[in-house]
């Protein structure tokens, strides 16, 4: 059995690499994008805010799997020029989807900051930008850390969805091995790898939360 596991490992590690790549690119793009769009969402421009609200509603109201399939299979039907390889399709679908979640998380954090904080900044003469940048966002960030952590862990597992568009990430590699060898160990190994990944995320989240624990 040890031999079998050792034989599985190279392919599974390669799959894990792909999983991590999609995870990392999605996070690196959608976190800042989510923050940016959330600022527009709470801006005084009603039209922009409404458009973003609708965007978030669609992205959070339909399955990520559906969105993924739409980008990969649906768009080329609309116009062949929209045909893309699987990997960029996965990134587009994931970034669009996760940005919507992050927008809502950041919005909640920003709106949770007490009015008194804004008034204090206002009477002291801080501009709207300074107030957002120096007073609201640092406090909002601390408040949204638990929700962000949840979302990040969900993303680790959501990466498995890209297996449906033939990307060789962890789950797909696992399934191929299990079907080929008619053995179930690969599933266990995949489960352990996902657990390890989410465990690392949880620890990192704890570290960041501790960093912000110096004030209440």
């Amino acid at each position: 059995m040890m031999d079998y596991l050792l034989k599985l490992l190279p392919a599974m590690l390669k799959g894990t690499g792909m999983t991590l790549l999609i995870f990392a690119i999605t996070l690196v793009l959608s976190l800042p994008l989510g923050l940016l769009v959330s600022l527009l969402r709470v801006s005084r421009n009603r039209v922009v805010a409404k458009i973003i609200e609708i965007y978030c509603w669609i992205m959070r109201g339909t399955p990520l799997l559906l969105q993924l399939m739409f980008v990969y299979y649906g768009l080329p039907v609309i116009s062949p020029s929209l045909t893309m390889p699987a990997f960029p399709c996965a990134i587009i679908a994931f970034v669009l989807n996760y940005t919507a979640y992050f927008v809502e998380i950041f919005r909640g954090g920003i709106e949770s900051i007490e009015r008194g904080q804004l008034e204090a900044a206002d009477v002291l003469g801080l501009t709207r930008y300074q107030t957002m940048r120096r007073i609201v966002l640092p406090q909002a960030f601390k408040r949204v850390l638990p929700s962000l952590g949840n979302e990040v862990i969900t993303l680790v597992k959501d990466t498995a969805l890209v297996y449906t568009i033939s990307i060789h990430e962890l789950l797909r590699v696992t399934q191929i091995a299990a079907t080929r060898d008619f053995r179930s160990e690969a599933f266990i190994v995949a489960g352990l790898i996902y657990l390890l990944l989410t465990f690392v995320c949880t620890r990192l989240q704890k570290r960041v939360e501790d960093k912000f624990a110096y004030y209440r």
């Binding site: 007490e114 008194g116 904080q117 008034e119 204090a120 900044a121 206002d122 009477v123 002291l124 003469g125 801080l126 300074q130 120096r134 007073i135 640092p138 406090q139 601390k142 110096y214 004030y215 209440r216």
Partner: protein
Amino acid sequence: MILRAENIEKSFGELKVLKGVSLSVSKGDVVAIIGPSGSGKSTLLRCINRLEDIEGGSIYIDGKPMVTTEPGKKPVYAPERELKALRRRLGMVFQSFNLFPHKNVLQNIIEAPTQVKKIPKAEAEKRAMELLAKVELADKARAYPCELSGGQQQRVAIARALAMDPEVLCFDEPTSALDPQLTGEVLRVMQKLAADGMTMLVVTHEMGFARNVANHVVFMNDGVIVEQGTPKEVLEQSGNPRLRAFLGMARQKE
């Protein structure tokens, strides 16, 4: 006249909170605004600081119009830059302190001087330490607001407001959120400021402060100023039945 408010009107929905209130503050004045809850005294202060937009009337700071209303028209505020410059001449201390919880005491105080006035950090910190000494909290410069008592937080808030060198410092019920034993330390600091000649406009429930520190007392009820004058005139000699009833209740609480 450093501050003049004329015929201020303000409603919240159907409820008319200020029904034409006029108030003048001269340099060095300590004005106490007293009155029952819902009389509009906090709203008046918030209108003067432009935390609320007024619906009628005019406000002048040192003779310069911050907002004016032509008869039969809507109020017109000064252009953005001018308004900002005028508002900067006012300071505000809130009932709930509103310190920035993610910044320590020193950072709270230097935030506006460094960001708004662009004063170099070292200079702002030096000044902040002087102000902290003044409010008797020099040893708490590195503490975070959550580590301080309510009374200490309010004294930091006073130092933070003073750091912008306001010409009039407004207090919105500065001791209402405090335990009785913490009220004294805040009032003592305010008394010291008054003695230093600071112009102050104080909405308060502390009759002792109105009596002993203020030189002018304003009694508001139901959106209008019912009585104003020296502490003696208002707190002792007035025969106004509303005022007498209010003072009677206040005395029972003390």
